[in-house]
């Protein structure tokens, strides 16, 4: 069964084999780039349609089913529409920044896929500072969002850009802090080592994934909240809050540039989801030893699509947060809990070594969980308290 698992790797070696030795490094990187782009390109097309259909089904309606069999050609129709729409550049905007913004947003996000392990030895580049590289690339998109908002020279887009940048900065802190305990326990920043640390099974049954440890579960939930905020989705889509400020920083864009922003947003979501799978759900490891025969990239795909469905599910349920609620959630709830999580992970790691008495596994679980749950509820209650104070309205003097 291992040849099915390594089918892509053997394919790559076969293709690289065809080329003379001098060109081989170039061709192999080219093939990898091509593979990532086609896979995530089709994934992007599929997710746009699946998102609308799932949202529809959750609101007791069908979702697009006109173009193609039950709507599967809808992304083709959307694509053609986006490409043929006139690309309006407002007169007063400075053309250079207006043109560069979508590029500066989408190109770094494609780079982020270079470090993610999609399957057993299926990682494009195994940087030993892979996780840090991923966050550095993620932070470059804030500048692009500002450029987009600034280029339009209109108040709404600048306001939207300000909100987006404030949101992305304040949610990058909990995102990174949630990933720190994983690095602490795995002992390395390289994503391959992190996935390796999560291999193996406890007592033949439970996989050794990070999400099954108390600090891992808390970090996973915080990571998902910060990920939805980082990719400007669902309850945190303040930057393009349609009802309030038209389309935020996307107001001045149409046609192909708008499609690029759309692509950038979804690729950001895919990158963050694949990172969440690698850090917390054991990358490409099978959940049970008996299921080992399925190929590793299949498990990665399964967990990936489960998380994407979760994001869409959250989007179908939760209303949009107010700006102050969103920021106070980040700074007053997520950051302190993430710091506390470091402590819980340390206690978990330390208590792992000493086997004091037989039932120590359960006690260890409870102790770490207790460190997180009680302060969490306490903080949560203070969070609700925040919104309980009546809003004061300052009328124009």
């Amino acid at each position: 069964m291992s040849n099915l698992d390594q089918v892509f790797v053997t394919l790559l070696h076969w293709v690289v084999g065809l080329v003379p030795a001098s060109l081989q490094p170039w061709v192999s990187t080219l093939v990898i780039i091509l593979a990532i782009m086609t896979v995530f390109g089709t994934c992007f097309a599929l997710t746009t349609i699946l998102e609308r259909k799932i949202l529809g089904r959750m609101q007791n309606r069908y979702g697009p089913n006109r173009v193609g069999p039950c709507g599967l050609f809808q992304p083709v129709a959307d694509g053609i529409k986006m490409l043929t729409k006139e690309d309006i550049v407002p007169f007063s905007s400075d053309q250079v920044v207006h043109f560069l913004a979508p590029l500066v947003l989408t190109i770094p996000i494609w780079l982020a896929f270079a470090v993610i392990p999609f399957g057993r030895n299926m990682t494009a580049i195994d940087l030993n500072a892979g996780l840090l590289f991923f966050f550095a690339i993620g932070s470059a998109s804030e500048l692009a969002v500002f450029m987009a908002g600034w280029a339009g020279q209109n108040k709404y887009s600048l306001l939207g850009a300000m909100r987006a940048v404030a949101q992305m900065i304040s949610y990058e802190v909990p995102l990174v802090l949630a990933a720190v305990p994983v690095v602490m326990l795995a002992g390395s920043l390289s994503l391959n080592d992190i996935v390796q640390a999560q291999s193996g099974y406890i007592a033949g049954g439970l996989p050794r994934w990070n999400v099954l440890t108390p600090w891992g579960l808390a970090a996973f939930i915080m990571f998902l909240i910060a990920a939805t905020a980082e990719s400007n989705r669902s309850p945190f889509d303040l930057p393009e809050g349609e009802s309030e400020i038209i389309a935020g920083y996307l107001t001045e864009y149409s046609g192909f540039k708008y499609a690029l922003f759309f692509l950038g947003e979804y690729m950001g979501l895919f990158a963050i989801t694949s990172l969440a799978v690698t850090l917390f759900l054991g990358g490409w490891h099978a959940p049970l030893p008996v299921l080992e025969w399925l190929p590793s990239w299949f498990w990665f795909g399964l967990k990936f699509s489960a998380l994407i469905f979760g994001f869409i599910w959250i989007r179908a349920t939760l209303p949009r947060l107010r700006l102050d609620q969103m920021l106070s959630l980040a700074w007053k709830f997520l950051v302190p809990l993430a710091l506390l999580n470091l402590l819980a992970a340390a206690v978990w790691h330390w208590s792992g070594q000493c086997r004091l008495f037989p039932g120590s596994m359960a006690v260890r679980w409870l102790v770490c969980a207790a460190i997180l749950v009680f302060p969490g509820i306490r903080l949560g209650r203070s969070l609700n308290g925040l919104s309980a104070t009546p809003r004061q309205y300052r009328y124009a003097k």
């Binding site: 030993n128 500072a129 840090l132 590289f133 550095a136 470059a140 500048l143 900065i169 390395s188 920043l189």
Partner: protein
């Protein structure tokens, strides 16, 4: 050979970004070119196998400092620069002479001194994340803690300085400034 081309490419990108950052009229373009220069520099670090520094540079400069500069521009309305104002301060000739002098006295020793000519870089360094971690926590733990302290102090200081001191001068300081060119608003 390919590493030469990438080096020259990245060097050209960085220099072009730096020169543009210093010479453009529109400030927002300056900051974006500066961010381009920082990114080019991060590329050079990565090319020099200093992964951690390259990625840290990318994270800190392109991710944070550029956004900080842009926020300052917007808060100080520097963007709508009055067209009449001169780009360069009056005594620019002496300034330019001094900077040329600085350039010369930096480049001459580099080109003449024999010691700096060795071609081959010393062997490929092993993955050094663990070594950096050990050094940070081992030999340089004191600088690490003081930097942490300094960063928190800088954080609080920056917030206190930039905070809109409503209490001191009453709410009216929050009134947006007027834009007439040249009219000196009353000093408060």
């Amino acid at each position: 050979m390919p590493s030469d081309i990438t080096f020259y490419l990245l060097a050209a990108l960085t220099l072009a970004g730096a020169v543009a950052a210093m010479s453009l009229r529109n400030i927002v373009h300056c900051v974006l070119c500066a961010a381009g220069a920082f990114a080019g520099l991060a590329g050079i670090y990565l090319q020099l196998n200093a992964e951690f520094v390259g990625v840290a540079q990318l994270l800190v400069y392109v991710g944070a400092v550029a956004i900080l500069l842009v926020f300052t521009i917007l808060l100080t309305h520097g963007a709508d620069v009055k067209l009449g104002s001169a780009l360069i301060s009056s005594g620019w000739k002496t300034g330019l002479a001094i900077s040329a002098l600085v350039l010369v006295c930096l480049v001459v020793p580099v080109l003449t001194s024999p010691g700096l000519r060795h071609e081959a870089a010393s062997g490929v360094v092993a993955p050094m994340m663990q070594k950096i971690g050990e050094q940070l926590m081992g030999q340089c733990v004191l600088p690490l803690e003081t930097t942490g302290l300094l960063l928190t102090a800088a954080l609080l200081g920056a917030v206190v300085i930039a905070m809109n001191d409503k209490t001191a001068a009453g709410p009216k300081t929050g009134v947006p400034p007027n834009h007439e060119a040249g009219k000196e608003p009353g000093l408060r």
